[in-house]
């Protein structure tokens, strides 16, 4: 630790000394990169001078600053999905340059610089995945619901959990180790419908970026990944809308200027209608089965996004964004009967709801052509609530009422300040900090009993916990030479809970060595610290998962990751990336053996075991970015282990989602302007589960009677023998999905019919295994699968 501190101080000193060096006459080009049609800013666009080979990227708000020698400049500005802009001029003064890029409609016909490959090879950032939203919408998916997180699962190093789930397991980490940011605001449970869909509506999203290693210093608070999702800002120039009607949901997005080129808005909403479709069926089945008079049961979710974007001046912009989403599963039953000439009614209700609310107010300010700042105030809230109620009426009079509720959640308020500073050509600085006030609600139960004249209401469980979290950081993207570039940074974070204070000094280093213009080698080291933990039931993913703070006895999780990468831009349409990584994780939590969410009587800390994990592996990604046929092949070879003193008798065991081989083939073929096809095929080693392989007798102490017992006496007491925790592999998972989109321009806009087949060859993939009996009375192992072949159809429109 001390050594790394000295190293950082040395590097910073070296950097500041290097600032003293005088440079030839240089000027700065600065401005914003934006979409030509909507005026929306384009994040992470590439700005590159082909003569000096110096370049930069626009930041999260579209701003860039590039200082170059006074000379002829050949500037290339590119962004995936947009036609590349090229310009040549003589630079003899500081220049404001706002660049508008045209969205590419017919990719095959446009000659573009391969921006992705260039970025891949030349940037210091490794382990980065950028996913164009249009690609997310094109690929085949379950029930035709385009899904941001499920598309990310198709990339190497990012694994899905169980069938259909949108949970992400990045480089052997858990689902809680992903910092999911929606417009900079952390989202705590990013799943709808028990994980089958993510909460992000692609129609409201403008960009998705995932970093799984070599983390820049500006990010912190989670161990395994950062998923930075940005909402659209709203069209500044014209009103536009898009929507779709699918098998399970419909959605609609509308955006436009409030004041042209100054203020814009976007609103977007989505709701499922499984409940509406299923209600009459459930009711009919219930009546046929002789159930209660009136049973209603169902499930639905909705989510809504909204954003206002206002340009105060050339130097100031504000944004206000909002997201809310809710899932609800419920049953209501009502029984009526007549007793002593009085109609009695009994009502049973059950509900399971959960959802997020997030909001961000952001202010961008350009101080000058070298300094930019962003201030964000954030709020987020995740709440899980389940309960049941029983009511009994005699006539209209309530005679008894029993209710039980359990709720948990996490709420955050805080602020973030970030600065971008370009003091000299070879250094690009980012620095800033944040503060978050957490309110943890780790599981409270409430009983309410009204019976005749007696009434009792009682709450018990864990009280709210309040904590403060903050960080500050500085990072420098440094062009050491034409061949060597580095991003050096430090991230300092702290966490205060009552009288307990944890802090962490985290060095981050990413370097790139350019072998040729097309080949580079990258290496990175990052240390991460995470002050909040997710206590999750390991058998099925439920929203009952609890977010919990670090306490006296539960220390913060931390990780160290080293990664080495090779990037080769071997063809104008193709690129190749190979990465290897090794990651260690400490202070991971798990339920104690046998403990679960339902044991309300226990304090949550007493249910936990603390241990460590380590993972390592290699990832290969071959990508074709342009042409009629685009797509990628990803392969991951990985190992992920956990070691807990009191689990598996202290022996290391495979993580549940330890997956030796993970393959994804993703192809998109554009036949012509109107028709395109999508194909994905995935293969993964089966999940690791704990499964009995034998049975045997428990200890029976000898007494004068026991010798006369026959084997029948022991029958129910037998013990199942497990070779080890997660020592059995489910059968491998593989699936083929197909889709076709039929686009047509119509007089008011554009419409698309999308048809899809999920699991096209109807592979019965394992969801869970259990021991049961066959028709002959033999004990057998049974596999339950969720989704056979599922067709989908969706009608989308755009105007």
């Amino acid at each position: 630790m001390e050594k790394s501190k000295f190293l950082i101080i040395f590097l910073l000193l070296f950097f500041f000394l290097s600032l003293e060096k005088s440079y030839a006459q240089r000027y700065t080009i600065s401005g914003f990169v934006q979409d030509k049609r909507s005026g929306e800013k384009l994040f992470w666009a590439n700005i590159y001078d082909t003569r000096t080979k110096l370049g930069t990227t626009s930041n999260e708000y579209g701003f860039f600053s590039l200082t170059l020698p006074s000379d002829t400049v050949e500037l290339t500005i590119s962004f995936v999905g947009y036609a590349t802009f090229q310009t040549k001029f003589f630079l003899n003064s500081n220049l404001k340059l706002n660049i508008e890029l045209d969205p590419v409609i017919q990719i095959a016909e446009v000659t573009v610089t391969d921006r992705r490959s260039e970025e891949l090879v030349k940037s210091t950032q490794m382990s980065l995945i950028e996913m164009p939203v249009q690609q997310i919408k094109t690929l085949p998916v379950l029930l035709g619901e385009a899904d941001v997180l499920k598309t990310l699962q198709l990339m190497p190093g990012i694994q899905s959990g169980s069938e259909g789930s949108s949970g992400l397991y990045v480089r052997g980490g858990g689902p809680d180790q992903n910092l999911i940011l929606l417009d900079g605001v952390p989202v705590y449970n990013a799943s709808h419908l028990f994980g089958f869909f993510s909460v992000f509506n692609p129609d409201a999203i403008s960009s998705v970026r995932l970093i799984k290693g070599g983390f820049p210093a500006r990010y912190g608070g989670r161990l395994s990944s950062v998923i930075d999702i940005r909402m659209k800002e709203g069209n500044l120039r014209k009103f536009a809308g898009e929507g779709s009607i699918g098998n399970v949901s419909s959605k609609f997005t509308f955006e436009g200027p409030i004041i042209k080129d100054k203020t814009s808005f976007i609103v977007s909403g989505r709701r499922t209608y499984i409940d509406i479709l299923a209600a009459p069926i459930i009711s009919a089945i219930n009546r046929a089965a002789g159930g209660s008079d009136n049973l209603r049961a169902g499930y639905f979710f909705w989510d809504a996004n909204a954003k206002i974007n206002h340009k105060i001046s050339e130097k100031d912009r504000v944004f206000l964004s909002f997201y809310a989403g809710r899932d609800k599963a419920y049953t209501n039953s009502k029984n009526k009967y007549v007793y002593n000439d009085t109609t009695n009614t009994s009502i049973n209700r059950f509900k399971l709801t959960w959802g997020n609310v997030t909001s961000a107010l952001r202010w961008n300010h350009v101080y000058n052509d070298k300094l930019f700042s962003n201030l964000t105030l954030i709020y987020s809230n995740y709440l899980f609530d389940t309960g049941m109620e029983f009511l009994e009426y005699r006539g209209n009079k309530l005679t008894s009422n029993y209710a039980f509720n359990y709720f948990s959640g996490i709420e955050n308020t805080g602020g973030i300040i970030d600065f971008d500073f370009r003091p000299v050509p070879k250094h690009s600085l980012k620095f800033g900090g944040n503060y978050l006030y957490h309110t943890f609600k780790p599981g409270v139960s409430a009983f309410k009993i009204t019976d005749g004249s007696t009434s009792l209401t009682q709450e018990f469980g864990n009280k709210n916990i309040y904590a403060n979290e903050f960080y500050s950081y500085i990072e420098d993207s440094w062009d050491i030479s034409a061949l060597i570039k580095a991003n050096l940074g430090v991230h300092y974070s702290g966490f205060i809970l009552k009288n307990k204070y944890y802090d962490s000094f985290q060095p981050r280093i990413s370097t790139r060595f350019l072998i040729t213009d097309k080949i580079s080698i990258k290496a990175a080291y990052s240390q991460m610290q995470q002050y909040i933990h997710l206590l999750t039931n390991s058998t099925i993913g439920l929203p009952t998962d609890l977010w919990l703070p670090s306490t006296d006895s539960i220390r913060p999780e931390n990780s160290h990751q080293v990664a080495l990468g090779f990037n080769y831009d071997f063809h104008k349409d193709w690129d190749l990336s190979i990465e290897g990584y090794y990651k260690t994780m400490d202070n991971l939590i798990e339920y104690k053996e046998g403990a679960s969410f339902f044991q309300l009587s226990q304090n949550w800390e007493s249910k936990l075991e603390i241990g460590e994990g380590y993972s390592y592996g290699a990832e290969v990604l071959i990508r074709k970015n342009y042409g009629q046929l685009t797509g990628w092949i990803g392969y991951t070879l990985s190992w992920s282990w956990r070691k807990f003193e009191n689990l598996n008798f202290g022996e290391p065991f495979p993580y549940k989602y330890d997956r030796r081989h993970d393959v994804a083939v993703v192809l998109m073929y554009k036949l012509n302007e109107n028709i395109d096809f999508g194909l994905t095929w995935v293969y993964g080693t089966g999940n690791a589960v704990t499964l009995g392989i034998a049975r045997y007798l428990p200890l029976v102490e000898y007494d004068e009677f026991v010798q006369y017992y026959d084997s029948f006496y022991y029958y129910g007491q037998e013990i199942e023998y497990y070779k080890g925790r997660n020592s059995y592999r489910m059968p491998p998972y593989h699936r083929l999905d197909l889709s076709a989109n039929f686009n047509k321009k119509i007089k008011w806009g554009e419409r698309t019919w999308s048809v899809g087949l999920y699991n096209a060859y109807s592979r019965q993939n394992p969801f869970y295994l259990y021991f049961g009996w066959d028709n002959m009375g033999n004990r057998v192992l049974k596999q339950v699968s969720l989704f056979p072949i599922i067709p989908s159809v969706r009608y989308s429109f755009k105007f």
Binding site: N537, F597, F598, A694, R695, Y696, Y702, R779
Partner: protein
């Protein structure tokens, strides 16, 4: 709480049905599912060594459990062979040899059809009970409890594991008004004559509970067999353990309750703890399966020891109320 679970399962199941969940029988692909020798036994320094030998069966095997009656079982003391153990019925093997405290004992089992297995344990010194205090608390619904305060000193500088059990010892008689098997007569309060068909002393374990809400922090597992704990939090200290037992299963006129503080090796502590967790959670889809500890090399089961320090209390029934009498 159970209702919540049921509803949750219904909702999840409904969703799965909606998703056209399907089920099929699959092959169980197990690389290492050989049948193993199962060795079970607890030895102590006050009785002859008896162990039980059986064999495991494949998880899908429907056949009855088989004891092994033809195994070669040998007892070793500090690696020196003491002798072969003899099958005495239903898988039990015995040797008339009393183990000594502080010595290691190994039982080695071989059988022509299965891999040889063995396990080693050490007989420990018992830990003395300093005192036992009792008092009765009276519940609302005649759920009267017999409370205990048990004081003992954990030996310093060593890791210790314990099991606490209560044994109820009473004279039981079975009555009949028709069957005349025994000479002794009993005249009931209504002067009817009943015959005693059986009479004898019975020893049964008493269920022990730790106090709710003020749960003793050192207790790590509780079951019908007793309380299991380690000295993790009380190492080298004098500690008073609080627990209670119901009056419910007092029988007859006089009950002697034996309080047994057993010093057990780590392997038995791990076995009891994991076994109880296993039974508590087996079949629960909301928790991970629990692995039961075994110390048998190449086999399964538990071979361990216990050293008992026992004290007893006598309770007498007077007009349907139980009173503490004396030791």
């Amino acid at each position: 709480m159970k209702n919540i679970k049921v509803y949750l399962v219904i909702v999840i199941t409904s969703l799965m049905i909606f998703s056209i969940a399907c089920e099929k029988v699959i092959n169980l692909d197990i690389e290492d599912a050989k049948i193993k020798i199962v060795l079970n036994g607890i030895i102590s320094s006050d009785s002859a060594v008896i162990v039980h030998i059986s064999k495991s069966r494949h998880i899908l095997d429907n056949a009855q459990i088989s004891f092994l009656s033809d195994a070669q079982v040998k007892l070793y003391e500090n690696e020196t062979e003491i002798g072969s153990m003899t099958h005495i019925g239903n898988g039990f093997y015995k040797i008339h040899y009393t183990p000594k405290k502080g010595f290691d004992y190994k039982v080695a089992v071989s059988h022509s059809n299965y891999d040889d297995a063995y396990a080693i344990t050490r007989v420990l010194n018992s830990v003395q009970i300093i005192s036992i205090d009792t008092f009765t608390t009276y519940g609302q619904y005649q759920d009267n409890n017999l409370n205990f305060n048990l004081k003992f000193t954990d030996p310093i500088d060593e890791k210790n594991y314990y099991m606490l059990t209560l044994i109820n010892h009473y004279y039981e008689m079975q009555y009949s008004d028709t069957v005349k098997n025994i000479d002794t007569l009993y005249v009931g309060p209504d002067t009817t004559i009943v015959y005693i068909t059986y009479g004898g002393y019975v020893r049964t374990p008493r269920r022990i509970f730790v106090l709710p809400n003020t749960e003793d922090v050192i207790i790590e597992s509780q079951s019908e067999k007793g309380l299991v704990f380690s000295d993790e939090l009380i190492s080298g200290k004098t500690y008073t353990l609080r627990f209670y037992s119901s009056y419910y299963n007092f029988w007859g006129d006089t009950n002697r309750v034996y309080v047994q503080l057993k010093s057990i090796p780590k392997e038995l502590y791990l076995y009891y703890k994991s076994l109880q967790q296993y039974y508590n959670n087996h079949g629960d889809p909301f928790s991970e399966p629990v692995m039961v500890y075994t110390n048998v090399v190449n086999g399964l089961g538990i071979f361990s020891s216990q050293s008992i320090y026992s004290d007893s209390l006598v309770f007498i029934n007077t007009n349907n109320h139980w009173y503490y009498n004396n030791k």
